[in-house]
């Protein structure tokens, strides 16, 4: 079968990098499967419960980089109890036992303990990169272990984790001999930082390219750090409160001017008035700006900042920018590809918000836009139809109207036609989140047109089971479906049970599915784990099949029922 010796094929496989392609290659024949598995270095596990660590290690003994995802997406919004699962420990133990030459670990929504971090830091001498996104369960003590023991550490990237800050000395735990740091992000830490230790660490890390500080780092330390790292490419400031007439301000401004390589800017977790002009010198080169944690940057100061960011490709902002501000973005940021607009005051009916006008302006001014997350006060079908016409290249389109069942603000009709226009025009759309008043019709459109759709998020939408059925029947590439507060029930759930084996997972909460329906599904599909999450204090939930299930999460798996379910999770 092979026309070339194995070594040549191996060489060819080296250029095959995407996991999808590698998976395809491994299915061609036994020989290719074998060559591929020994040469695979990067493995992505989208659901840590779909497979066991032992089987991953057995198949890919050359594993160097592992990506793991734990809790379902809705866990980000408090819909999943913290102890649901997604524990890192068994993976670390297996990797250590298997003597895997692990170099990189990327985790999302996992429960990570200090013990795991400690074990990680001691078990893999070549360990270089740790990226934790939306994880929890650990403290700065775990970080100290990583800092102290991973001699070759290049990357420690903590994105939006819930970390118990013991205000420790973890930064000082980087040994004096450690000079390999390329990327350090601790913006999500809430506690104090040993500032001199930070300065020294930056001073001895000539390869440092990414540095994101937390709120506890004051401007004068920022100045000292920047002075030692003018080669930075990505900067996240901490506190930016200083007196514009002070020496510190002038020094900072002079130092910023020298940082000509900064392309990505974030932070400003605290901002003082009239401090922002000091950062102006680097704005014209920025390709990425994240001000979603900077409610202190608003009004005319924000507009003035945006006006200078002519090369921006990615912008994350709060809705206090307003429709007018988005108009400025539209006329300034012609290279914009990704926009996220977050709600600045989620609890009150504030005066800061954006509407369909801002979105239309953006779509008209930024033809390269392909990724959108937009929290707004209102939307109209006409606007969505215009947006679809202006930007047919959307890959990710997530709209969230703050009042989740609000109709078209002008016509009072459902927003079916607007979203229909989006899916029809955007042939490559892979991710979609819906919002507003929506009937079954929008799902008919999605099923008909969204051929590349992989992930769909639904909340407070639809009239009947037909809605869900349209999607399950139509979207052939659907991998993740998450639904809350929508009237879909057993008929939709059970119509095509084989479909779920082609998907990674399905989440349904506050819908109409009953315990009986879930039981039937679990019975028909032994390769699925059907989990019921019941947090109420009601004693016997297992009795009544007619009872509606509050939260159901099902996923395909090769390893059957997991053994670490907490009390409130019941696998059927």
């Amino acid at each position: 079968m092979n026309y070339f010796p194995d070594e040549v094929i191996e060489q060819i496989f080296e250029s095959v990098t995407s996991q999808k392609d590698r998976n395809a290659v491994s299915l061609v024949c036994k020989s290719w499967y074998k060559i591929e598995r020994f040469s695979r270095e990067r493995v992505f596990i989208g659901n840590c419960y779909a497979i066991s660590p032992e089987r991953v290690i057995e198949r890919f003994p050359g594993l160097k980089s592992l990506t793991l995802k734990g809790k379902p997406h809705f866990a980000d919004f408090n819909l999943v109890p913290h102890e649901w699962g997604g524990f890192l420990q068994p993976w670390i133990e297996a990797l250590a036992d298997g003597r895997v030459g692990l170099e990189e670990l990327r985790l999302k929504r996992m429960i990570v303990s200090d013990e795991s971090l400690e074990l990680l830091s001691r078990s893999f001498p070549n360990f270089k990169s740790l990226v934790l996104v939306s994880c929890e369960g650990f403290t700065t003590d775990g970080l100290a272990a990583i800092a102290a023991n991973c001699r070759l550490l290049k990357e420690l990237d903590l994105q939006e984790n819930d970390i118990d800050d013991h205000r420790g000395h973890w930064l000082s735990c980087f040994p004096e001999s450690s000079t390999s740091l390329v990327s350090l992000n601790f913006a999500c830490l809430k506690g104090e930082i040993n500032l001199p230790a930070l300065e020294r660490l930056v001073g001895r890390s000539p390869n440092l390219k990414v540095l994101r500080l937390n709120r506890a780092v004051p401007p004068d330390t920022l100045q000292k750090v920047l002075a030692r790292a003018p080669q930075l490419v990505d900067l996240g400031t901490g506190s930016y409160v200083l007196d514009p007439d002070s020496d510190t301000y002038n020094k900072l401004q002079a130092t910023v001017v020298k940082c000509k390589s900064i392309k990505s800017l974030s932070g400003f977790l605290e901002v003082g008035p009239r401090c922002l002009p000091s950062i102006y010198p680097i704005l014209e080169n920025l390709t990425s700006l994240n001000l979603s944690y900077a409610p202190g940057v608003h009004g005319s100061e924000l507009i003035e900042l945006i006006r200078q960011c002519v090369k921006l490709q990615r912008l994350w902002i709060l809705d206090c920018i307003g429709d007018k501000g988005l108009g400025v973005v539209a006329s300034t940021c012609k290279e914009l590809q990704e926009l996220r607009v977050f709600p600045s005051d989620p609890f009150a009916a504030g005066h800061a918000f954006v509407t369909e006008e801002g979105l239309v302006a953006i779509s008209a001014g930024c033809p390269k836009l392909h990724s959108l997350l937009y929290f707004c006060q209102q939307m109209t079908n006409a606007a969505l139809i215009t947006v679809a016409k202006n930007c047919p290249n959307f890959i990710r389109f997530r709209l969230c109207i703050l009042d989740p069942t609000k109709p078209d603000a002008v016509t009072m009709r459902p927003l079916d036609e607007g979203f229909g226009a989006i899916v029809q025009a955007c042939k490559n759309i892979r991710r979609l989140s819906l919002s507003g008043l929506l009937t079954d019709r929008v799902f008919l459109y999605i099923g008909m047109y969204a051929e590349q759709l992989e992930m769909l998020s639904i909340a407070f939408a639809g009239d009947s089971d037909n809605g869900m059925l349209y999607v399950l029947n139509g979207c052939k590439k659907l991998r993740k479906l998450e639904i809350r507060d929508s009237p879909f029930g057993n008929e939709a759930l059970l119509k095509d049970v084989g479909k779920y084996e082609t998907m990674r997972s399905l989440w349904m909460s506050s819908c109409e599915v009953t315990l009986g329906g879930c039981k039937a599904l679990a019975k028909q599909m032994p390769t699925l784990n059907v989990e019921i999450i019941n947090e109420s204090d009601q004693v016997e939930i297992g009795v009544d099949d007619e009872q509606r299930v509050e939260k159901m999460y099902l996923y395909r798996t090769l390893v059957g029922k997991r053994r670490d379910t907490p009390e409130f999770v019941w696998t059927l």
């Binding site: 919004f77 079908n381 016509t411």
Partner: protein, 200 residues
Amino acid sequence: MGRKAAAHSSSSSIDSSNHPDHHLPSPTASSSSSSLSRKINGNYCNSLSITRTDLSTDLRLGLSISTSHHSDLSSTSTPREQALINWPPIKSILRSTLAGRAADNRRHPSLFVKVYLEGIPIGRKLNLFDHDGYSALISSLCLMFKTTILCPENNHVHSDKYHVLTYEDQEGDWMLVGDVPWEIFLTTVKRLKITRADRC
């Protein structure tokens, strides 16, 4: 798509009312037990009301701890008081960061509106929350602009020597200040203008 996506002007049968002051849900479909009507009765009707109807209700939105979305739904409860829990969908860490800031703002809440005196192009800004009623507001403005503004309780005097206070509401109309209760005024006012009394 083949179908005309144009909006229809006639209201569908599920429109309860287009009256802008209609805050409470109408019991059009309250007898039906389907979740559709529940949702429509619940959320759709209230969407027709103006967004700044009741600040206290909105504040309660994110703080509701009701665990069941489906139970205890009576047609008399304001729909937005229902458990809209874990909404909007933003990450907890962002939510707590912004809530912290919002709480800071609410400790010193402000509602700044622009105020113009007729004939003077440069306006001023005033924090309405600093005042507890129309009298306080008028006193502030009299001091700020050094003019006499007639109180709403007095009879209107048509004269160019005096001024009256007007405001622009959410619909863009200019109205005389003082006709509605203070709290409702706060939810509808967009900006203020002090005009000559003979204009009204």
